[in-house]
């Protein structure tokens, strides 16, 4: 069976659940099978929109995600409309990943309904195609969840492949197929290129993946920074990212550290460094839409002795001013006055802002209460157009800024680990 596997390459699966929310609903209530089903903001709400549609609704009635519900109903009067039940979807998601994990431990959940699986060493289970069929059949039979699977030598191609045939597709995409299969596609269809990046690429006359593949690396680097280099590689079918089971856990901390150009003993200079670091930590937290309640500072002295000190606050933070204030507080409390050669700030145990909570304060709750009418309005928009339709301008702006920050400040995970150990 080993002969079916590449001699010195990898075999990566991208497993993508088809119309996941609808599939979960149908799995729970088999009587829905064979019917056109959508999950929509709130069925009672007249202005609701379609959040997810199953393939019958899509193919037979032309209903698509974000379509206004009244229009969907017009197209299909007997349409089954369900309210989203995110708890159910999360539960199902866990079951899907547990099932996938029985094939290979190298499993990286990428979102609630898709994940990467590295089966390079799974030749004892069968050929890659056989394993893909086993997974597809298994998930359909045991959980009633249909999936499409992309098989490729890396994550990017696997992801592109799984998209090609839905539902219940299995698509193999080899590196040598890239020019023929991918190059004529517009750049937006590439995973990792959003509207903004596509716009920028258009500016330099790059419209298709093929054109991107043939563009000078330097040009792309100037245009998009380091991301441009990665995108060009991907367009050529190259992607070295490992399937990382820890990826989900990875951003449980977000930190930046910087080695100072000379050893510093002036407090005001250190505080200035903290200001810069807190700015970049805050940007990254905002970009990932996470918050944290625990801040840690790292101080490495001239003699390489390193201390890390942290403190947990009642409410989560994300704003630069808060991070800066907390970091300064920690510095003042723990710096022994010796010359410092490196400073770092890390937000520990970060969590999704949506999962976070804030204990309101008697003397400041009015500020949050002020948001109440706005939040109610946002809530309605989300119900109408789906999550992510609306987000604070500050978050969008920070996305811009953070790339520059990344280059200015070094973020070195290995460094940080060392610091932690020497505590």
């Amino acid at each position: 069976m080993k002969s079916m596997y590449p001699k010195n390459g990898r075999v990566i699966f991208h497993v993508d659940c088809n119309a996941f929310y609808c599939s979960c609903e149908i799995a729970r209530d088999p009587s829905l099978e064979g019917k056109a089903v959508v999950v929509a903001g709130d069925p009672k709400e007249r202005r609701g929109i379609v959040l997810a549609a199953n393939y019958i609704a899509k193919n037979d009635f032309g209903i698509y995600t974000t379509m206004p519900l009244w229009e969907a109903k017009k197209k299909c009067p007997h349409l089954v409309i369900l309210k989203p039940d995110f708890d159910l979807y999360r539960e199902m998601s866990t079951k899907v990943f547990n099932f996938l994990a029985t094939f290979s431990p190298i499993l990286e959940p990428a979102s609630i309904d898709e994940g990467y699986l590295d089966i390079t060493d799974c030749y004892s289970l069968g050929s890659p195609l056989e394993i893909a069929h086993q997974i597809q059949k298994g998930l359909l039979e045991t959980l009633k969840i249909p999936v499409s699977i992309g098989i490729a030598p890396n994550k990017f191609l696997a992801k592109m492949a799984s998209d090609m045939k839905k539902p219940l597709g299995i698509t193999v995409l080899r590196k040598r197929d890239v020019p023929k299969v991918l190059w004529q596609l517009p750049v937006q269809s590439m995973h990792g290129i959003g509207e903004k990046t596509a716009e920028k690429l258009k500016g330099i006359g790059v419209f298709t993946i093929g054109e991107l593949a043939k563009t000078e690396k330097g040009v792309l680097k100037d245009l998009l920074g380091i991301k441009g280099v990665y995108l060009q590689e991907r367009a050529n079918g190259i992607d070295h990212r490992p399937v990382d089971p820890e990826a989900v856990l990875k951003w449980k901390t977000i930190g930046n550290s910087t080695t100072l150009s000379h050893n510093v003993t002036e407090e005001h200079t250190l505080i200035e460094v903290l200001r810069r670091l807190s700015d970049s930590v805050s940007s990254r937290m905002k970009r990932k839409r996470v918050v944290s309640s625990t801040l840690q500072i790292t101080i490495r002295y001239a003699n390489f002795q390193t201390v890390t000190r942290s403190k947990t606050w009642l409410n989560p933070f994300q704003e630069q001013e808060e991070i800066f204030r907390y970091a300064v507080q920690l510095l003042k409390q723990h710096w022994n006055g010796d010359p410092v050669r490196l400073l770092g700030i890390t937000a520990l145990d970060v969590l999704d802002k949506k999962e976070s909570t804030k204990q309101l304060d008697l003397f400041s709750f009015e500020e949050d209460a002020k948001d109440e009418p706005l939040l109610n309005a946002i809530e309605q928009l989300k119900r109408k157009f789906g999550e992510g339709i609306i987000q604070p301008v500050s978050e969008l702006l920070h996305k811009e800024k953070s790339l520059k920050e990344k280059i200015r400040l070094r973020y070195d995970t290995k460094q940080k680990k060392k610091d932690g150990e020497s505590m």
């Binding site: 009642l314 999962e355 309101l360 949050d368 209460a369």
Partner: protein
């Protein structure tokens, strides 16, 4: 100084004054207990300079001799050793004799300890308090008022004034308020007083906790004297002094909502148990949040989700729900604290919106209230 004293009376007194003795003090002599013997009896004093406690053991009480003062005098003994020694003495009577250089012998039965004492002249004097404006409260009521408020003080030093309980005396009424800015506890009571004097002071939460521990559950009156920077609680044989906190207590009266949009009446005990169950899964460190949702027909749903652990929902029948529908999240801990502090089998909870403070009160009693700030979810 030489006395012969009932061991149990001595142990009790030592235990009381020990509440004020701290092993970490900047004034070394305060690690000791001051003992003063006069013909009237023996006075013990302990202090950490924030709290000072004086306990008096009368020479005789109810025609029973408790102390035989052979020779009046005084000494300061190391609290740590003295308190342990008296607890473990073999006989019901103890003889304490101070010789030269404050070397002190403690004898009971065939046991004899000698302790190096300190010069009582070096012990700081307790604050002198003019007992002009006294007001009185029964001991058990005072203890209740402390219990119902002190838990809500802040434990963080970011706003030191909030680590104390605000005591306001006006129009023959005492109003105790405590808040850590996330919840607030308030308790009112009529006081017995002949003066018209009004006060607005802040007593450290720690002082009130210690006071509560040494008061018994009788309904005997406690005399309370408030001065510019001290408060004195006086019972028959006990003086309890506490420093007051500096600074102005925030005006919380305007923060307590007067109107409401949703009023819920529940059985206190039942509701407490539901919250307690729901909080089993609420994540530690993440504010311990539970969610309350009003349903049809007077039902209330209490739920809590911890993605990694699981979730819980429970419905409870309320006595009544009036007003708008509501979904609100709050700390289970604050709710449990508040419910435990309130007397009354039924409580009324008044909400004014998911991001505004809500009130808990016993149904037919406006002498106490608890206020909780909700938790904002995203």
């Amino acid at each position: 100084m030489k006395i012969v004293i009932e061991r149990d009376a001595l142990v009790q007194s030592v235990q009381d004054v020990m509440k004020a003795v701290s092993s970490r003090t900047t004034i070394p002599i305060l690690t000791g207990i001051k003992i003063v013997a006069t013909q009237q009896g023996v006075t013990l004093t302990g202090s950490d300079s924030d709290i000072s406690i004086e306990s008096f053991i009368p020479a005789e009480e109810e025609e029973k001799i408790i102390v035989d003062v052979v020779q009046p005098g005084s000494v300061v003994l190391q609290a740590r050793f003295f308190s342990e020694i008296v607890k473990k003495l073999p006989q019901p009577t103890v003889e304490i004799e101070v010789q030269s250089q404050f070397l002190t012998f403690i004898r009971s039965g065939k046991a004899e300890f000698s302790l190096n004492g300190l010069d009582p002249e070096e012990y700081p004097r307790l604050p002198q308090i003019e007992e002009e404006n006294v007001f009185k409260l029964p001991t058990d009521l005072l203890k209740n008022m402390i219990r119902q408020t002190v838990f809500a003080v802040s434990t963080s030093e970011t706003r030191p004034i909030l680590t104390g309980v605000n005591w306001r005396v006006e129009n023959g009424e005492l109003i105790c308020t405590a808040t850590d800015s996330h919840r607030l506890a308030l308790r009112k009571a009529k006081i017995e007083t002949e003066s018209e004097q009004s006060y607005n002071v802040v007593i450290p939460g720690k002082s009130l906790n210690e006071l509560s521990k040494i008061l018994d559950d009788s309904n005997e009156l406690v005399d309370i004297v408030i001065t510019a920077n001290q408060v004195l609680f006086k019972t028959k044989h006990l003086l309890f002094f506490s420093r007051l906190l500096d600074g102005n207590y925030p005006d919380t009266s305007r923060l307590i909502p007067t109107d409401s949009k949703t009023d819920v009446v529940v059985n206190t005990k039942e509701f407490l148990q539901v919250i307690d169950r729901a909080s089993l899964l609420a994540r530690e460190g993440r504010n311990n949040v539970v969610k309350l949702t009003t349903l049809q027909d007077g039902m209330i749903e209490i739920s809590s989700i911890s993605p990694e652990i699981g979730k819980v929902t429970e419905e409870i029948q309320s006595e009544s729900i009036e007003g708008e529908e509501l979904k609100i999240s709050f700390s289970a801990k604050y709710m449990i604290d508040a419910l435990k502090a309130l007397d009354g089998t039924e409580i009324k909870i008044s909400f004014t919106g998911a991001m505004r403070p809500f009130l808990l009160r016993p149904l037919h009693d406006d002498s106490m209230l608890q206020l909780i700030l909700p938790v904002r979810t995203y």
